[in-house]
Symmetry: C2
Subunit: 203 residues, 2 copies
Amino acid sequence: MPRPKSLTPDQIATAAMSVLDRDGLDGLSMRALAQELGMGTMSLYRYVSDRDQVEELVVDLVLGAVDLNVARGTPAKRLGVLADRVRVAVSGHPAVVPLLLTHRHSSPSSRRWGEAVLTVLTEAGLTGKRRVIAFRAVLAHVFGALQVAHFGPLSGPGTAALAELPPEEFPLLAETAARARTVAPEEEFRKGFEILVRGLGLS
Amino acid sequence: MPRPKSLTPDQIATAAMSVLDRDGLDGLSMRALAQELGMGTMSLYRYVSDRDQVEELVVDLVLGAVDLNVARGTPAKRLGVLADRVRVAVSGHPAVVPLLLTHRHSSPSSRRWGEAVLTVLTEAGLTGKRRVIAFRAVLAHVFGALQVAHFGPLSGPGTAALAELPPEEFPLLAETAARARTVAPEEEFRKGFEILVRGLGLS
DNA sequence: CTCGTAGGCGTGTGGTGTACGCCTACGAAC
DNA sequence: GTTCGTAGGCGTACACCACACGCCTACGAG
């Protein structure tokens, strides 16, 4: 075995994250990543088969930072902690938000997080079809909230534009958007998730 | 004013939808759209400034088909109807799902739908910050559920792969994924949304 | 010291969005 | 009925993208 690999998947993921944090999702290209690593573009293909695989490595790196240890508290509390830790892990790297859903299945860290969520749901007494629905609802809500917050943050220009809408046609939307600008992302996420958990009937 | 416009925004949106339905999101390019319309690529730029604007037209066309009339029933029922009509409108054109979130702010149809949702929430007694949180939770859940169902349908290969995971490491995930394959998309969406609405405390 | 393996890379292909500038069909004004 | 400005329509060109392929070479085991 001559010439040991000079690059680990983790190094690739870290470099990709640097590019992502600096230049956003549009800035992440195989060329840019190769340059970040100080090598030629095609050299990357020794280690990854695909751009897709690069994205998968990034998602796995981010979700790998999520602590899954939530032994204490009510099921509702524990679910809230698991969800919020994803938000925290992602909030430092907003450009990965669009990648989360597309690479959810292939990322081991994502699967481990799913297993942790299911553990809480099961210990709360859910099984069978009810557990399927509950799990998917949690997935939809968490990833949906992250995307909504990413593409249209309450403090961003989109919401500001809605606040300027003609009150005769959009009275409630304009009023709500104006009010929304003072709500912090963390509060939005936490209280939104509390609504879902309340609906699940846990406590 | 010589030479009246030969192309309406609606014609462009309809043509783009045809391409989207036939070839998916990757198949939609300015070249492909121009060919669908029987004209040169650059001619399109007489009518749209951007590829982004084409996507916006498509989103608006799809959401424009959603009936917003929900006078009868409990708030919970009415919210459920509004949400499910979006699902139905989108289900015929799955390729637009990824576009919904990114063009939510600029689409008039999307704004009108938001106003309708807020009307129900307001009539149910919600105001101020509570209404902001509730509205965003509805957005997150609806768009999240659509995306989760699109990128990883319960009947699709992703879920099947999860079902094959080693039971010693992912016992609950494997079991739940196996059980999930029999749940229909419509049931998943409807019951998931019912969970959220229950959490909102409406009835 | 030799030699096969794997690392690294240069070139090329077919795709993308779109800036720019050209020709031309048209409809109103004279 | 001729003219003329406007807008429609398009061809070319550029910069970027992911990636196939094949080459050269550094290395480490034998």
